[in-house]
């Protein structure tokens, strides 16, 4: 390690270590993980690039404020176990966040090195450590405090909260509607981006901490807040997410072979429809697939279509690439895999073919107008500019709404869109109920949902054991 007078000197010459990816042509044929992650040598080289800033902006950019320079320093010292311990003080799911965080808007977006060149690959370094969980020290567990907490939903927010509470000495049970845990990590994000084995490993880790999981348990239907309190739970954390698809509200939206992205992805990710008939759930293998949307879900859907054999997999977005909310890496991956991107088009109608299924979408061409309240330039239709794009599968990935079960769990205040109203610590209008993640904020990121889970766990701990 280069040092001057005992102090670390960063390597200012080396370019950012490129991602270790499978070749695009090969990987687009199956569901193998696209990014193999850094080797030890790559991680060591990349760690040398960190400037070890006195006031590290990267830490501010991280929603859970991981001590990034410190864990990178430990990597440089080849003390990988200690490096992982540093991360796990703030985040229990580094193997997941290193893969799915939009780092360009978070830690890496703030990295000083990014101003004149490429930022340090913080996400890749985090993932490198997260993929070696056996190196971490066993987390310190507070003695059992005799209090019980029910966590509703096993997505990133729920499992983070459950893990924190278990470490703080609580008896925690997670109630999950599906037959397996992970929420969007298992039904939404595809195997090629986040291997399900990684999610399972994290859930198993929580079970090792004593967290119990009740599957097939739709809280709001099978039980509710009153019953949970009667059963002896002292607090509830609601993290049911925002899984209800938004409609495009255009004619033909209900034609066969028009999907909401959630259904399309659930069939493949959760039910393994790509392995039909070995697995019983079928899906549609379109030759021409059109996906509407510009977020990560749209990228996941279009890349899944490619892997199911689509010759033409097309993303249609009503703004331009520059405004797409998807992770940059996923957009690049998609394009490398042969996905076509159509900018400035909005759906007008799904056209019914002779077989009764969708055969085309009519789209309205747009241009960018004045910026709207979000600061992005608003797309406005170009009069008369309508085009028909032939397709045999169409997928809508324009966002989601609040999970409909939130209101049935307990008597807590919701806003007019059905999201739970919670304060900055996650407290709802019922002093025994906390909430966090997408069911409070609307669809956001995995790391923000985790951050909310962590904050709520601290608040629950303060409220129940002082």
């Amino acid at each position: 390690m280069p040092q001057v007078n005992g102090r670390f000197v960063p390597d200012m010459k080396s370019p950012r270590t490129p991602d270790n990816e499978e070749p695009a042509a090969e990987r687009a044929c199956d569901f193998r993980p696209v990014d193999k992650g850094f080797t030890k040598e790559m991680a060591l080289a990349e760690a040398e690039r960190c400037m070890d800033c006195k006031k590290p902006l990267c830490v501010e950019g991280c929603p859970v404020n991981i001590n990034i320079p410190k864990f990178i320093e430990k990597i440089r010292e080849q003390k990988f176990g200690e490096a992982l311990d540093v991360i796990r003080e703030d985040s229990m799911l580094p193997a997941i966040c290193g893969r799915v965080c939009p780092q360009e808007n978070q830690c890496e977006g703030k990295c000083v090195r990014g101003k004149k060149g490429e930022p340090v690959a913080i996400g890749q370094l985090e993932r490198f450590l997260g993929d070696q969980p056996e190196l971490a020290s066993t987390p310190k567990m507070a003695p059992k405090n005799g209090k019980k907490v029910a966590v509703v939903g096993s997505g990133p927010s729920g499992i983070t909260c459950a893990g924190e509470l278990a470490r703080n000495g609580f008896d925690v049970t997670v109630f999950e509607a599906f037959f397996t845990g992970g929420g969007v990590l298992v039904y939404g994000i595809p195997e090629f981006r986040l291997p399900k084995a990684v999610v399972k490993r994290e859930i198993d880790g929580l079970m090792d901490l004593g967290v119990k999981f009740e599957y097939n348990a739709v809280v709001g239907r099978i039980t509710d807040a009153d019953e949970l309190f009667e059963m002896g739970y002292d607090a509830i954390y609601i993290a049911t997410g925002a899984g209800l698809p938004k409609f495009l509200n255009v004619p033909g939206e209900n034609l066969p072979n028009v999907f909401f992205a959630n259904e399309y992805l659930t069939r493949v990710n959760l039910m393994k429809a790509n392995r039909f008939p070995e697995y019983d759930t079928p899906t549609k293998h379109g030759k021409r697939v059109v996906v509407f949307g510009g977020g990560n879900v749209a990228m996941d859907a279009v890349r899944t279509a490619k892997r199911l054999g689509a010759e033409h997999a097309i993303i249609c977005y009503r703004r331009t690439e520059a405004e797409m909310p998807a992770r940059r890496a996923e957009l690049h991956h998609a394009k490398a895999e042969g996905v076509e991107v159509r900018e400035l088009v909005a759906p007008l109608e799904f056209v019914k073919g002779e077989d009764g299924c969708v055969c085309a979408v009519r789209v309205q061409k747009m241009k960018l107008g004045e910026p709207d309240e979000s600061g992005r330039r608003r797309p406005v239709p170009i009069e008369g500019a309508v085009e028909e794009i032939p397709c045999d599968v169409a997928i809508s990935a324009i966002g989601t709404n609040a999970n409909p079960f939130a209101k049935m769990i307990g008597d807590i205040k919701l806003n007019k869109w059905g999201y739970i109203i919670a304060d900055e610590e996650g407290r709802t209008s019922d002093p025994r109920i906390w909430a966090g993640g997408d069911i409070v904020t609307g669809a956001a990121t995995v790391i923000l949902a985790m951050g909310a889970g962590k904050t709520a766990a601290a608040s629950i701990t303060k409220a129940l054991v002082g």
Binding site: A177, P245, F247, T281
Partner: protein, 280 residues
């Protein structure tokens, strides 16, 4: 895992399972459904509650063998377990006081029975109209007859092999003509529900239909079960499965139900081939 406590065979292709599921039994209502995943590689399939007992902790559902999953389920025996059973899901059937005609067609009779029984138990006069293609496919006659007097049970078969020859709209129309019915509930194949609705409309009598689109998660997450009702898209799994039948777009429902017929055939064929190979 959810243990099979009892298996009843009604006819060549129609079975009933009683499953150990205390949580579901405590919360079930007539009209609601459960989702079953038979094993690790299985799909999720919705079945309506046929009966349940909160004290004894069991629920029952009836299924007809039509595809791979139901063929496989029919091979399960008492003591075997189902991998996953989730529920209760959907809105309970709404009841209004008055005289009811509850119509069930084919395997829909399994859904109609608990609804009819509950309406009767709440003090309403109920006419049960039972329809089937042929005598062998008529379900739960004994159960219906144990709850209702003979003059309140109306049976039709398409081929006339039992009861009245014809379809359920004939006895329905008679009851409506006599002014005996205030409300109608129907469940069964789309054509049956569609024509029952047309008959009800002729007599300006409100009619509710329990819809049966394809489902994946059953909790409102995917929209696979969406149906058009009154020009609006609704999710049958959370907004239904019961809807005002006069507002349902039946063609839309039928098209979506048929979306995977080819794949369903493939799955069954692959399963039967594997079973034959096993036996050899």
């Amino acid at each position: 895992m959810y243990k099979i406590l009892e298996k009843t065979q009604f006819s060549e292709k129609v079975f009933k399972f009683r499953i150990e599921a205390p949580e579901l039994a405590r919360h079930a209502h007539a009209g609601q459904f459960l989702m079953v995943r038979a094993n690790e590689t299985g799909e999720r399939v919705p079945f309506t509650f046929a009966d349940w007992n909160a004290e004894e902790g069991w629920v029952e559902f009836i299924f007809m063998v039509i595809g791979k999953t139901t063929t496989m389920l029919a091979s399960y025996e008492v003591g075997d377990s189902l991998q996953d059973v989730t529920g209760p899901l959907g809105q309970p059937t709404e009841m209004a006081p008055g005289t009811w005609a509850v119509i069930g067609g084919g395997v829909g009779l399994a859904i109609a029975y608990p609804v009819a029984r509950q309406f009767a138990a709440s003090g309403n006069e109920v006419h049960a109209i039972m329809g089937a293609r042929t005598k062998d496919l008529l379900l739960l006659e004994d159960q219906f007859r144990s709850v209702f007097d003979d003059d309140h049970v109306h049976i039709t078969t398409d081929d006339g092999s039992y009861g009245e020859k014809g379809v359920v709209t004939a006895p329905l129309e008679r009851l409506l003509q006599e002014g005996k019915v205030d409300h109608i509930f129907c469940v069964g194949p789309v054509p049956m529900m569609k024509f029952s609705t047309l008959t009800a409309e002729k007599y300006e009598t409100p009619i509710t239909a329990s819809l049966n689109p394809i489902m994946v998660d059953g909790t409102g997450m995917c929209g696979c079960c969406r149906v058009e009702v009154g020009g609006k898209t609704k999710f049958a799994c959370v907004d239904g499965p019961d809807f005002d039948a006069t507002k349902v777009d039946w063609d839309d429902l039928r098209a979506r139900q048929a979306a995977y017929l080819t794949e369903e055939g493939q799955a069954l064929e692959a399963y039967e081939e594997a079973m034959c190979a096993c036996r050899r």
